[in-house]
């Protein structure tokens, strides 16, 4: 697709997103906000999965740690958003610095160690109930406020999330197009070759892991202000799996892919489940279909069809 067309498409999508609150009711608006937040989380997973070739299953940890930090500061200690939100992101990122040590392993060992990390965080959230509130979690999180500027309705919050999202996407685009991003993809393609070229692959992967954790933490902060409460489910293994699936269904290694995946999965879950009890089977079918016929996700499928159409056109 030519560059001009891409930019035009992006603008159209953005315009649609900006105009959405005018047509969508509160439920759909809430659901789309949720899709954005989880899309961002899926995007953070995809930095590792799609670009560096690392399959992380502990991203719910960063997400939850930052959500918990922000919620606890804001609710129990009445810390303003201007401090609570950055503190949340910081906490998640620090955890990323620790868990990042997992990049010393590769392949299935990396997956296993991240699962273990994820369970540790879930266990703490679940069992240390005097601090985290156990199953009841932390409730009554207010809308974010910055001095006199305060979010007062879900619509305003929607725009806030959208703005953060656009900034993140631009930043992400710059990051993956940079030499750093190229190096990551190089490592994914052939780590030994990158090493022999003199790249310090462990360090690159470590940095990518931490950046990805920071992005997941940002999603966690957005999540806690959307949900207005957080409980151990946010840190649970199924969340980590689900966001990885979002990236895969949408298309790994792309920017829109994780968001499309998040839209499909959350949309299916919330919409199908309202009239069909076996909605989980529908989700299963979707995954099977994706794996069989669109291994590069929805984006990959669209690109493939586009290329075919262009070829047919020129013929």
């Amino acid at each position: 697709m030519p560059k001009a067309a891409r930019i035009l498409l992006a603008l159209v999508v953005l315009a649609a997103a900006v105009l959405l609150p005018r047509v969508a009711g509160p439920f759909w608006l809430g659901l789309v906000t949720q899709m954005y937040v989880f899309g961002l989380l899926a995007l953070s997973v995809d930095l590792l999965l799609g670009h560096a070739g690392l399959f992380s299953l502990c991203h719910a940890s960063f997400f939850a740690v930052s959500a918990y930090t922000t919620a606890i500061l804001q609710v129990r200690h009445a810390v303003p958003t201007a401090l609570a939100a950055p503190a949340g992101i910081l906490a998640g990122t620090i955890l990323g610095l620790v868990f990042g040590l997992a990049v010393r392993t590769r392949g299935v060992y990396f997956i296993l160690i991240t699962i273990a990390f994820g369970y540790v965080v879930w266990g703490v959230a679940h069992r240390w109930s005097s601090f985290t509130g156990g199953d009841n979690g932390v409730t009554n999180v207010p809308f974010p406020a910055l001095g006199t500027l305060r979010v007062e309705s879900p619509t305003e919050y929607y725009y806030l999330v959208l703005a953060v999202l656009v900034l993140c996407t631009i930043g992400y685009r710059v990051l993956v197009a940079s030499p750093f991003g190229l190096t990551l993809r190089g490592i994914k393609a052939s780590e030994t070759r990158m090493r022999s070229l003199g790249y310090h692959s462990d360090l690159h992967l470590y940095v990518a892991f931490v950046v990805s954790a920071a992005l997941a933490s940002l999603a966690g902060v957005l999540y806690v202000y959307y949900n207005r409460f957080v409980n151990p489910v946010a840190a649970s293994f199924p969340i980590s799996v689900e966001v990885a699936l979002m990236a895969i269904v949408g298309g790994t290694g792309t920017i829109v892919g994780p968001f499309i995946g998040s839209g499909i999965i959350l949309g299916l879950r919330n919409w199908v489940s309202s009239f069909f009890e076996l909605y989980a089977s529908v989700m299963g079918l979707v995954f099977i279909v994706v794996v069989l016929w669109a291994p590069d996700g929805v984006v990959g499928l669209v690109v493939r069809l586009w290329v075919r159409a262009v070829k047919a056109g020129t013929r």
């Binding site: 009711g25 509160p26 439920f27 809430g30 659901l31 949720q34 679940h126 069992r127 109930s129 005097s130 156990g134 199953d135 009841n136 979690g137 409730t139 009554n140 949900n227 207005r228 409460f229 409980n231 151990p232 489910v233 946010a234 879950r269 919330n270 489940s273 309202s274 009890e277 076996l278 909605y279 989980a280």
Partner: protein, 415 residues
């Protein structure tokens, strides 16, 4: 622009106009109250607690079918949304039924940790929530929401009498407590520990098991030798594993085990005659309760579903009865949320499980039954295992014998 829109969307527009005529039209022209009352029910229909969720739907529907689906002169419509026992999903579904389905009030949820999530939706939208089986203590104690009332039970409410029972009736002095390691399990177990130790009982050990513990051998091995009795709070599939392990290790010959919250009606069909004679539960409901209200309820339920109801079904049934009583009291004007909530708070209910009324903290004051598992001859089902009350603690408050202030100052039960 306008032309293309008209051109391309004619069928949609017609549909929209029709819908407007049907929906909005009648709302403005005719009397608003002739519209049905829409109740949102929030059970987990999939996930780990799907079968209690099914009980909840069955109990709720049974009640409304019995009264012809009307209350306060209006038709009742029930909107069911699956929460999957996941707080995120519960939150989204609650928002959906409030905003999309325009329910007048919500009933549910069932899973304890979904309670705060749905209460949040009630708080932000003002739509009343009649809290069903979700038992988190905090909902009616430290973290109350003006639009939330509870019609089922608060976790430690059933634990307190059990502690007293262990000490006074069973004469135990050195009890081992087995508890399920999550909020509900903590609150039920530690509620019993509190009343038991206040009387002077000694705790031999408290053993916590995470939900879904596969092997109860380790738990049984951890029971101290010198203990004189075991109390069990076990939930979900763990109930069966605990049951099997207890007998497989021959513990039944050495010690007595007493269920504080263990052999609810829904698991009894999977247990066998070894369960007979064991104390199954200390609970606000026992299917074997011999009152006219309960006989009528259990018979109707058994005829329809070919099984006895568990407390999940009874709770939902009673939530139906309670809301109908309130709706009748305000002549169906559920749009007036304050009046509806007030009527809910003032109602006196003769439920299958006994007399009920709300305390000042929006939690029912109710009987707690210590029950024994027995085989009874049921008029519809024949021979079945069920819980038969052996001791009734009447009109138990969620604060037990303490004043609310004392209790609230002490803070929640935490392990």
């Amino acid at each position: 622009m306008r032309l293309t829109r008209n051109g391309s969307r004619t069928p949609l527009r017609t549909l929209a106009m029709l819908l407007t005529a049907l929906g909005l039209g009648t709302a403005t022209v005719a009397h608003a109250q002739s519209e049905p009352i829409r109740i949102g029910l929030l059970p987990p229909l999939t996930g780990p607690l799907a079968s209690p969720g099914r009980e909840m739907v069955d109990g709720f529907k049974l009640f409304w079918d019995q009264v012809g689906n009307t209350a306060g002169g209006r038709k009742i419509e029930i909107v069911i949304a699956d929460t999957t026992c996941n707080p995120d999903q519960a939150l989204t579904q609650a928002r959906r039924i409030v905003h999309q389905e325009k329910v007048h009030f919500m009933v549910g949820p069932l899973c304890g940790h979904e309670g705060p999530a749905v209460a949040q939706v009630s708080k932000e939208t003002g739509v009343p929530l009649v809290m069903d089986a979700a038992g988190a203590d905090t909902i009616t104690k430290w973290d109350r929401t003006p639009t939330v009332v509870r019609t089922a039970v608060s976790a430690s409410q059933i634990g307190h009498p059990f502690g007293e029972y262990l000490y006074k009736e069973l004469g135990l002095r050195n009890v081992t407590f087995i508890g399920q390691d999550y909020t509900w399990g903590h609150e039920v177990t530690l509620g019993a520990v509190r009343t038991y130790t206040e009387l002077g009982g000694k705790v031999a050990k408290i053993i916590w098991n995470p939900l879904g513990t596969r092997d109860y051998g380790a738990t049984i091995a951890a029971i101290p030798q010198d203990t004189d009795g075991v109390s069990a709070v076990v939930v979900g599939v763990d109930r069966l594993r605990m049951f099997e392990a207890w007998f497989n290790f021959g513990m039944d010959k050495k010690l007595k085990i007493h269920g504080g919250y263990w052999m609810q009606q829904d698991v009894l069909p999977q247990m066998d005659d070894r369960a007979i004679g064991l104390i199954g539960n200390s609970l606000h409901y026992a299917a074997g309760l011999d009152t006219p209200e309960n006989r009528a309820f259990t018979d109707a339920f058994a005829r329809k579903h070919k099984r006895l109801p568990s407390w999940f079904a009874e709770s939902a049934y009673t939530a139906g009865l309670w809301t109908k009583t309130a709706i009748d009291a305000i002549n169906g004007k559920v749009e007036d949320r304050a009046a509806f909530l007030k009527a809910m708070r003032q109602a006196q209910i003769k439920a299958p499980r006994g007399l009920l009324r709300m305390d000042e903290y929006d939690n029912p004051i109710q009987n707690v039954y210590i029950s024994k598992v027995q085989k009874i001859k049921h008029p519809v089902l024949g021979e079945v295992l069920t819980n038969v009350p052996i001791k009734t603690y009447e009109a138990v408050s969620q604060f037990w014998k303490w004043t609310p202030e004392e209790f609230l100052k002490r803070g929640p039960y935490k392990r």
